[in-house]
């Protein structure tokens, strides 16, 4: 416990950030994530790797060279540029897909956990039902009926993967609702909205963030599987999932670079996200604080 000397307080978030900054792995992971986002932004604005869709039928399946560091694909397109542009697809799938599912999960979880009673029973029934359908099948079924494409892909992931978030937020809301600080707010006459948004939600936000980050990673991985099943993004759109799936035919011809490029790109993004997530978890864990 620090003695009260300086007048400016340090919030729990500031505390957590301070801890994360001390963690070298977390800092490196953070900058890797930022680098990916930067790369995606530049690709989306067509400022870098502009040759990603440049077809050159004279040079199909060229091995890596100084002109094409990761070689070329069937249509003679530069693999490195396609992998770089694949970042855009993955980040969209990750952010929109996981974002949508966190949004749904948080909303339903907060309602169920806070109000309890009939609302809780209905929401619990709803998510238990979805939870009783094996996730991969639900996702496949949903993608299948909604058809391929980036938009439907995000929608499928968002609408099928929120159960975990919902469960987490619900149990956290039930826990926090009984805490004395929430009871205290109630005894002062605070409204439901105030108790939910001013008191409980800020105290569950770090868990939601961690949950989002796990969802992000799982969304990116799902994209690969769905691509293989022919339920991925529109043909022609650069995506890691497509590049990895295409390797099924390419490998037997000795063409390994498409697979390698996509795997390497995905590897560092997923690893950075996982490591950063672990650091956030450690830095915000109340059990580790105060000790």
């Amino acid at each position: 416990m620090t003695s009260a000397q300086n007048t400016q307080g340090r919030s729990l978030w500031a505390d957590a950030i301070r801890k994360i900054k001390k963690n070298r792995i977390a800092v490196v992971s953070f900058w890797i994530i930022i680098a990916y986002i930067g790369l995606a932004a530049l690709c989306a604005m067509d400022l870098v790797f502009t040759s990603y869709s440049l077809v050159d039928n004279t040079i199909p399946y060229q091995a890596p060279s100084s002109a094409h560091w990761f070689g070329t694909d069937l249509f003679g397109r530069d693999v490195l540029a396609r992998a770089a542009h694949g970042t855009v697809t993955s980040l969209i799938v990750g952010f929109v897909g996981a974002g949508l599912s966190v949004l749904i999960g948080t909303l339903l979880g907060a309602l169920a956990g806070y109000f309890g009673g009939l609302v809780d029973e209905l929401i619990t029934w709803f998510y238990s039902t979805l939870d009783n359908i094996p996730y991969i099948l639900l996702l496949v079924a949903f993608s299948f009926v909604s058809g391929p494409g980036l938009k439907t892909l995000c929608l499928a992931i968002g609408l099928t993967s929120w159960v975990g978030h919902c469960r987490l937020v619900r149990s956290e809301f039930i826990k926090q609702r009984g805490q004395e600080y929430v009871q205290g707010a109630f005894s002062m006459g605070a409204s439901h909205a105030r108790r939910i948004f001013v008191h409980i939600l800020p105290n569950t936000l770090h868990l939601i963030l961690i949950s989002f980050s796990l969802g992000f990673v799982s969304a990116i991985k799902s994209e690969v599987i769905l691509s293989y099943l022919g339920l991925g993004v529109e043909p022609g759109t650069p995506s890691w999932g497509m590049m990895i799936s295409d390797a099924k035919l390419e490998l037997s011809r000795g063409v390994w670079w498409g697979l390698a490029a996509a795997t390497v790109f995905m590897f560092f993004l997923v690893l950075a996200f996982t490591l950063f997530n672990d650091a956030v978890r450690d830095a915000t864990d109340p059990k580790l604080r105060d000790k």
Partner: protein
Amino acid sequence: MLKYTIRRILYVIPILFGVTLVCFLLFNVAGGDPAAQAAGKYATVEQIESIRAELGLNQPIYLQYLDYLKQILTFDFGRSWSTKQKISEMFWSGVGPSLSVTVPGFLITLMITIPLSLVLGYLRDSFIDRTAMVVCLALISISSLVYILAGQYFLAYLWGMFPISGWDSSWTGRWEYTTLPILIMVVLSLGGQILFFRTIFIEELSKDYVRTARAKGLSNKKVLTKHILRNALIPIITLVVLQVPFLILGSLLLESFFGIPGLGGLLVTAINNADFPVIKAMIVILTILYTTFNLISDLLYAVVDPKVRLQ
């Protein structure tokens, strides 16, 4: 315990209603006009209409749902559009091949991961533990598709250690074809499972009863293998039981890559051919299986955990 069992079984009813409803809505309502899909791209309006009547799709929606429930109860899902085989027969013939890959794969993985994560939990924050964590995190950062592609390419195609793909329906002959898929399954589930079990063990390690056991003079090994393992087994058993439906389904990717005629491969083929009735049936069958095993895992939980047993 009896009351708990009965209540838990009754609880399955609204869930089953829910899952069948979701499957029904997904395919018959959200998925567009089933009659149009059945008729194919070049069908005329008249053809579609006659198929609609044939499939009973001109009935009110609740009757269609009841029909659907009847299909499930009688385990009669009709025939595949592409192969014209009976779907129930396709299902039964797929279970065996799926299980002969997943069961050995799953058991071998458990035999590696449980002891290993127990040791890592005990050595937490040591150099060995940290290294193992990095390796596990790296393992789960690679798509499972990549493991399959690389495994098949290197071990089977390039080095010829295993057949590239194929199947022998005799029990003795199939191992030639299943060894590589089993190996790949073990490798790709290793990282995630170790991380999961390690977390469980570390959680148990910080409990008060561990301190009591040590204060008794028990060795660390004994505390670990008796007190902690017994407590950690509760969540582990639940997890294992919940895996069973996935073992039956088999791996979508592994089976389609290695030509194993299991349910996973069946489903992939059905997706590629837009074989609606097969996809629909597979999903509802596996969902009901999953619900059943969810129930079993809950009941089993009550058996292993004395706290639940008595309520």
